[in-house]
Symmetry: C3
Subunit: 186 residues, 3 copies
């Protein structure tokens, strides 16, 4: 017993151990390993940020998920990568080869033109298409979650969505986001 | 004294206790119990996410607050639930019973039509109206905070706001958000 | 050795120390001292939130950074503070001295009018101009980071940006944001 008593610790030794363990725990802070991203918009331009950020997060070793809600729900419906459009209206800062007044940007045909312009800008620069982003997200285990309330309001069925999509409500998003440092509403 | 020395702990016992306590502390991580949400938009469609997410957070036991700034400030002014509009422009992904070119979406009258369409979609599905969302937020103790700087810029008075609203600046938002895992700008 | 054994700690004493240290560590939680903000929009109205929130964060002692991506990249290009415009389209909640139908908001000239209206509202209330916000951000050591992928897609060169801007990708943003409580996509 005396030998054991000899290795017993006093307060300063205990505090040193505690600080070491806390620093270790903070370094592997589980919230630093999770990214919970909401995709709420359905246009081509705003489709990129949630996919780029979540796949970059997954590539960095984080558990990443995208919660698709409101207009963003469209992004994971079947056939959407072919139908997706960019909206030039209300984006006066979008760089365009030819400057144009906003009223033209609101005319029929302009949306298709802006869409093909952006598609080719991204294509020409080796940036992925929406379909490629979806593929990368699935390959890197980014979880794709469809908002059930929006599905009900807009009349979507589970069969409208691409393969591998999960379904959940705001509570499902929050149960992950409350344990994540990276939480973004896009 | 010998009896006490007999229960003294060696380093491995101390490390075990420390890890237990850290795991407990992490589980009740105070940042996991707080949601700080900014509402910056004043249209009907973008009014839903901050209210739905914050009331869902409150229902899950989190302390939730909405900081209303910029256009979002309107949401908590008196009489706004009756006046609120949805903006169809720039939302090409909004599902519509009848497809329409964006130029029509920008015409006078279309906004009212999109608004009533969305109101009835939400109503028909048992989703709350803005007034009901405000009521639920108040019942679940979601804090509603009006951005003072925006009030000054846009010329709002405290008397313009619904009952129970608090007033604070960006510093007030940050003092909460810096202690919250869920921080969203909507 | 017997004297040392006499101050050795039993389990309840160790647990008390551990809880004290954890509470201290939580109070100086490093994630509470960092704000990682994305600026994705290039109009005058949406330029304010990232600058106001990040400079307020810096003023409160946080390490703050703004990651400029997509349309937001324009905000830190040379000469932009003079060229920046506010977009009235799709903002039906923007308070205006004179109400106007949305179709007028989309006409050429209206954007300039809304811009000058907002500039004078902010000016009249003592709120900073974009140039002043950039100056304050630099004085308070808010880091300004340009998104390299967007630069490539939109054809920006490093020389297009104002002094003091750093360059990085989504991975650079995430390496900071995963250690920050305040993470906002604006």
């Amino acid at each position: 017993m005396l030998d054991e008593a000899a290795v017993a610790l006093d307060e300063s030794a205990v505090r040193r151990i505690v600080k070491e363990e806390i620093e270790l725990a903070m370094r592997k802070d589980p919230a630093a390993r999770r990214a919970s991203i909401i995709a709420s918009k359905g246009t081509l331009d705003w489709a990129y940020p949630p996919f780029i950020l979540s796949t970059a997060a997954a590539a960095a070793g984080l558990e990443a998920s995208i919660f698709f809600t409101f207009y963003g729900l469209n992004l994971i419906t079947k056939g959407y990568p072919e139908r997706i459009k960019v909206s030039p209206t209300g984006n006066p800062a979008m760089p365009m080869p030819v400057p144009m007044a906003d009223v033209f940007a609101g005319m029929p045909g302009m949306k298709a033109m802006a869409t093909s312009m952006m598609k080719s800008m991204f294509k020409g620069k080796g940036v992925a298409s929406l379909q490629e982003l979806i593929d990368v997200a699935r390959e890197t285990d980014v979880r794709l979650i469809a908002c059930q309330m929006t599905m009900d309001v807009f009349g979507f069925q589970q069969s409208d969505f691409i393969e591998g999509v999960e379904f959940g409500g705001a509570a499902a998003f929050l149960s992950e986001a409350r344990r994540a440092h990276v939480t973004l509403f896009i």
